[in-house]
């Protein structure tokens, strides 16, 4: 590749990535040269500003047509734009939570890393959503994973944090290896790593042996990716890691990292397998014939997440299982592959972003104040801090899918997508609704603590400004998208045109 071709690429479509990369680099250098005694909080604010700048530049690209540069390895299509929007929004809010995190257990000395590792992870996630090639996809995945491994172990002198990082690394590497192994089959059959070229090649595969191998690849990729999504069968790491990691990191893992996982899953599955014949008599594409397996994973995830959550006393573990369950609901979207799949996925991930990050902001505040993570720390919160209690109640109601909140509209969307096809996914929908009712138990359990139980101490609460901002934005968004969801749907329809350019 000579300089001329290199310059001829339209680099401006990578502007958000460049901004994040630049800010992350600048932050790491600043951290190096800053005097040791100085607070690193300023780095967090710089990082936040960087993310906002990237967000603005991404919004500037929304009207931009579909474009792909660097030999089709970097794609800017509606899918990439829409999901990068979520990733950046999520990361911005995580950054605000991280700024208000009062360090302990040895994090004081490493505060700078704390901020720019979030940026590095975010960059990985963004590259994943834009990549048109298995190599860039994998590089993005690794960038995200490695940053997360370090972040999880940030509390150096905390034994739980160490345990969590260790479990995360081991489980994560196994899962990544499985994914990679699956990808290698596809590469072996097609001889290319480019998703578009692969899809083109695979439309003409009719050899049964090859189709069998592709099925195997499909399984390995899905199973491996279930690690990032924290869905069955690779969900076991989530509770331990969520509990041990610092709360902002937990928030990052549960929202940004999970969103990235879904982005990756959709990119791979629907680019590679959508046009591959399954070899059965009706000539269905492979992805439709494998639908049931994803549905099975979705069902198992919902059941496991919601049932085990019932027994949790630690609020972060509770939210780990809750987020496993939520990932199960999202898998239902992918398993049903309806007309509304992209819209539904985007909307639910967006709703989930706000309700979960809002809840984590409150969890961070409450648990840090008392030093314990038991649910009973929420006792009497309504007396101590009515605003926090009502905010938490709104997020919990949204997670439980009660009308009036964004979570309900998201679930409505999922149900509709699942029931529209001729062969409706009744079993899956029934499991989802039944487990949702089960989830009332633990979500309302937290509310019972907040509203019914007497407070242990009556100390008044003073909330840091950054947390107040996160909580307020989340409340507004959760209620607004619950009452007037058309704002989001119109935005989707108006700007992304049903993601038709995904397959082009």
């Amino acid at each position: 590749m000579d300089l001329e071709t290199l310059l001829s690429y339209e680099w401006s479509i990578m502007a958000p990535e460049f901004i994040i990369l630049g800010v992350a680099t600048a932050l790491s250098l600043l951290d190096l040269f800053m005097p040791k005694s100085q607070s690193r909080k300023i780095l967090g604010w710089l990082g936040f500003a960087g993310i906002l700048a990237a967000l603005v530049s991404l919004l500037g690209l929304v009207g931009h047509g579909t474009e792909s540069i660097l030999l089709d390895t970097f794609r800017l299509d509606s899918f990439a734009k829409a999901f990068k929007l979520l990733l950046l929004l999520g990361a911005a809010m995580v950054m605000l939570i991280a700024i208000s995190y009062e360090p302990n257990d040895g994090l004081e000395e490493f505060r700078g890393e704390f901020f720019y590792l979030f940026m590095a992870g975010l960059l990985g996630a963004m590259i994943m959503s834009s990549s048109g090639d298995l190599i860039t996809l994998f590089v993005g995945l690794e960038l995200l994973s490695i940053s997360s491994y370090i972040l999880a172990g940030m509390r150096k002198r905390n034994i739980q944090s160490n345990e969590s990082a260790m479990k995360y690394v081991i489980n994560g590497s196994i899962a990544t290896a499985i994914t990679l192994f699956g990808m290698s089959y596809v590469y072996g059959l097609t001889g290319t790593t480019n998703l578009k070229a692969m899809a083109g090649f695979l439309t003409s595969v009719f050899d049964e042996q090859h189709i069998y191998l592709l099925g195997l690849a499909f399984f390995m990729i899905v199973v491996g990716l279930s690690f990032k999504l924290a869905t069955a069968p690779f969900h076991m790491w989530a509770p331990d890691v969520y509990q041990g990691a610092p709360t902002p990191v937990t928030a990052f893992l549960s929202v940004v990292s999970k969103t990235a996982g879904f982005v990756l899953l959709v990119r791979i599955l629907f680019s590679i397998f959508a046009n591959t014949p399954s070899g059965d008599a009706q000539g269905l594409p492979m992805i439709l014939s494998l639908q049931d397996y994803i549905a099975f994973l979705a069902g198992a995830t919902m059941i496991i997440g919601n049932l085990i959550a019932l027994r949790q006393r630690n609020i972060k573990r509770l939210f780990a299982y809750s987020s496993i369950a939520q990932a199960g609901y999202l898998l239902v979207v992918i398993a049903t592959m309806s007309l509304f799949m992209f819209d539904t996925l985007w909307f639910y991930l967006g709703a989930y972003l706000f309700m979960n990050l809002g809840a984590f902001a409150i969890i961070q505040y409450v648990t840090h104040k008392s030093g314990s993570e038991d649910i009973s720390e929420f006792a009497g919160l309504y007396r101590r801090a009515p605003f926090l209690a009502i905010a938490m109640a709104i997020f919990l109601l949204s997670l439980a899918g009660i009308p009036g909140t964004a979570g309900f509209i998201g679930k409505l969307n999922i149900f509709m997508g699942a029931l529209v096809p001729q062969e409706g996914h009744y079993v899956l929908v029934s499991i989802m609704i039944a487990t949702t009712v089960v989830s009332y138990f633990y979500y309302f359990g937290v509310m019972v603590q907040m509203f019914f139980r007497p407070a242990a101490d009556t100390q008044k609460v003073k909330l840091p400004a950054a947390l107040t901002a996160v909580i307020s934005i989340s409340i507004v968004a959760t209620i607004l998208f619950g009452v007037a969801p058309n704002m989001a749907f119109d935005f989707l329809q108006g700007n992304f045109n049903q993601f038709t350019d995904f397959f082009q």
Binding site: L339, F340, I402, P403, M416, A418, Q422, I433, V437, Y440
Partner: protein
């Protein structure tokens, strides 16, 4: 009554009270109670205006409201499919239910005077509950109906769990789980209908489901229709409740504060009946006919089961709880008869039981406040200490057991008239229940009012001034319906005609 957003204002008017309450200091007890009471008045006033205008011949369609709300998918491709409008409307039946809700809400707000703590939170939830209940009856599409239905769930959970008696949290949880499962089943039905027809509007669904060659997004087989009706029966059966889905309701009746039980027994249970009539009969008339016998049998079982269990209870609240189950059996009997008299009887029973249950539970609140017990044995001789309360209690019991001249008689008479026409043997068995009702109610009420006094009633005052308001209003309405049933039957005429047309009767 043709001013814009009449119904929206009616439904959401209690929110104004919530807004005002949020600015009041927590400690201003009497002010908070006053605001809470006043906030229920606009809805009452507007619903009465609508009722009297309708009686005077005005057209209810003028009240319909429609604003486009949610569009799933691309509107250019899909047109009107998969869009949900915010649409409110009324017919005679829902108008009556709204009036009932508004009246009982105002009276329950008066009864809330007995609430002892955290009045501010209580009244905010109370008013939210009222919004939910009014909305349920005004909703013109299934999704909106479901949203309001769920909105009633959350405040009720907190109202029971925080302001109830000793085992309040258990009661609140069992309320949540039973009703949560019920609404989950309901949601499945609603979503299947919506996904497969592309509309959630009730009238549109009634037309589509009963057309010969309907335009559907995806096919709906006959078996699926039957399945959906059975699911509806379960969903609303939890609410009503139908035996064996009733255990939560007994707990709630006993543990919740009396003012909330007034609303719960008076309105919330009735949503079950309303749903069965509106959606079950309206959308699946053919399938409903084939389930008619089952419904009638369930009704008789409810009637007898409730009556026998009410007979052996020692706690008056338990007697009333089982009596509610028993009386809901009469609703089912009326629906199972599936003729005009039966359905009319069922609707009458819905209203009449709403009023009677509210009256009885209000009286329970009145004497519980003074003697701290609702155990029949400990209450003996109440007439000596509280003659007026005891007198009204007897009146309530008379209405409940169907004394001619009171509303209970009209509804039971019509429901059984309907059933005797269709299934005389079953009706004869059911009639035993009527006798049982008289037996258990008289046993309980006479045990309370007369008999040897187990305690010293000195220093216990009888009903105070404000307590007369709900009692007199309720007794007045019960007698009014009893002697002049046209106040209910006339507004219902057109609704009944539509229903009868649907089931081809």
């Amino acid at each position: 009554m043709n001013f814009a957003y009449f119904l929206s204002i009616l439904v959401f008017s209690p929110l104004l009270g919530i807004l005002v309450l949020s600015f009041l200091p927590k400690t201003q007890e009497s002010l908070i109670k006053m605001v809470g009471f006043l906030a229920t008045l606009p809805a009452l006033l507007l619903s009465l205006i609508a009722y009297f205008q309708y009686r005077a011949g005005a057209n209810l369609e003028g009240l319909n409201e429609k604003v486009s709300w949610i569009q799933f998918g691309n509107s250019e491709q899909l047109g009107n499919l998969f869009s949900i409008d915010y649409e409110l409307g009324l017919d005679g039946f829902s108008l009556i239910m709204i009036v009932l809700t508004a009246v009982l809400s105002t009276l329950a707000a008066i009864a809330s005077i007995h609430i002892k703590k955290e009045w501010k939170g209580y009244f905010m939830l109370f008013l939210l509950l009222e919004v939910g209940m009014l909305g349920v009856f005004a909703a013109e599409n299934l999704i909106l109906f479901f949203i309001f239905f769920e909105i009633t769930l959350i405040p009720t959970f907190f109202l029971i769990g925080k302001w109830g008696y000793f085992e309040k949290e258990n009661a609140a949880y069992s309320f949540l789980i039973y009703n949560g499962l019920g609404s989950a089943v309901l949601l499945i039905v609603i979503m299947v209908l919506f996904a497969r027809t592309g509309t959630a509007n009730i009238d549109a669904l009634m037309a589509v489901m009963n057309a010969d060659n309907p335009q559907l997004v995806a096919q709906i087989s006959e078996d699926m229709k039957m399945g959906m009706l059975i699911a509806l029966l379960i969903a609303f059966g939890v609410k009503l409740p139908i035996f064996p889905l009733h255990s939560w309701m007994v707990r709630v009746h006993v543990q919740a504060p009396p003012s909330i039980v007034m609303l719960h027994a008076g309105v919330l249970l009735k949503i079950g009946a309303y749903g069965l009539i509106r959606f079950g009969m309206g959308i699946f008339p053919e399938q409903f006919q084939s389930l008619a016998v089952l419904l009638a049998v369930l009704g008789v079982v409810n009637l007898l089961y409730g009556a026998f269990l009410a007979f052996i209870q020692t706690d008056f609240k338990m007697v009333l709880a089982y009596s509610s189950i028993s009386h809901m059996g009469i609703v089912l009997i009326g629906l199972g008869a599936l003729n005009e008299a039966g359905i009319q009887g069922a609707i009458f029973q819905v209203v009449s039981h709403g009023l009677i249950a509210a009256l009885l539970f209000f009286l329970v609140g009145v004497f519980y406040e003074r003697v701290q017990t609702s155990n029949i044995q400990n209450l003996g001789g109440l007439a000596k200490g509280m003659p007026i309360t005891a007198g009204f209690l007897l009146a309530g019991a008379m209405a409940s057991l169907g004394l001619p001249g009171m509303s209970g008689f009209v509804s039971e008479f019509m429901a059984f008239l309907g059933l005797f026409k269709e299934m005389p043997v079953l009706a004869a068995v059911g009639a035993i229940g009527i006798i049982m009702t008289a037996v258990y109610l008289l046993r309980a009420v006479l045990g309370i009012t007369y008999g040897k006094a187990h305690r010293d009633f000195a220093g216990i005052t009888d009903m105070r001034k404000f307590e007369f308001v709900p009692v007199l209003v309720l007794v007045g309405l019960i007698v009014l319906i009893g002697v002049y049933p046209s106040v209910l039957s006339e507004p219902l005429t057109s609704t009944l005609e539509t229903i009868m047309l649907g089931i081809g009767g």
